[in-house]
Symmetry: C2
Subunit: 159 residues, 2 copies
């Protein structure tokens, strides 16, 4: 009780003096993204892969038949990771990914998604799509477009 009143008073004290809209926006971005990622992680993890591993599989499905070099996968990842090799190790151990050294440039290792990997993604396509749509249902399509465009400009300014 004393606990709860205290906490409330503090909340007021702390939420008032936001340093700036910029700081508040950064906080809002961080909190929202954290919630979203936990939501999606909960969906994919019962299928035996982490969210990062799931993203690798989606990249490989999108890339098609000719094989994708390891570091190109890293480039395309949503969250950049230097641990791409080990991520692929895990996926290969689960037979969701296949790798082969590239004959033309033997420094490269080409990666493909397997049939099992494609099945896993197919199983998750609808749940993930639905969950994402539901998560964003508070915003209209035009609001989403504004959001997307704004974030793109922010990222542009960070390069």
């Amino acid at each position: 009780m004393a606990q709860k009143r205290l906490s409330l008073r503090e909340e007021i004290r702390q939420n008032k003096p936001f340093e700036s809209p910029a700081q508040e926006a950064i906080l809002a971005l961080s909190r929202t993204t954290d919630l979203l990622q936990r939501r999606f992680a909960q969906l994919v993890e019962p299928h035996g892969v982490s969210l990062q591993q799931y993203n690798v599989l989606r990249i490989l499905r999108g890339a098609g038949q000719q094989g994708t070099p390891t570091l190109e996968i890293a480039d395309r990842m949503i969250q950049k990771t230097p641990g791409i090799t080990r991520l692929l190790d895990k996926l290969e151990a689960k037979h969701l990914v296949r790798r082969k050294r590239c004959p033309e440039d033997r420094r490269q290792v080409l990666c493909w998604i397997t049939e099992a990997g494609l099945r896993l993604l197919a199983d998750l396509d609808k749940p993930m799509g639905d969950s994402g749509a539901q998560a964003m249902e508070s915003l209209t399509t035009s609001e989403l477009r504004v959001l997307i465009a704004g974030l793109e400009r922010v990222r542009g300014g960070l390069g």
Copy 2:
């Protein structure tokens, strides 16, 4: 060369069929937040703390003199973490945080930021503020407000 052409073709092929604005918005949120967090992590890590540890210190500075129970810190964290105890262990080892078992409720452990912790935060206040402002300078104040309000609605819909 062949590499580069291929990658471009794929980018076109992959970026066109976004499943929906909702999916695109989620992707944009994830990418933008990842970039922002890397940016801030680079600022705080030279001072010997991780971004999560820095956030703990900020919570404790905001909380004032009466001490904050461990799990209330966890509640207030931007990224929720079950590893709050160990985060505090590290901060205490660096003498940035002080802990004491609460006499009224001996289950609780109250936490305070130390003078050294306050100095560390003071050193980082301007760099962090400037970096945040710069990161968001692509958006006007009213655009930031729209962004903040939109994200708040999204989070509301996720509870």
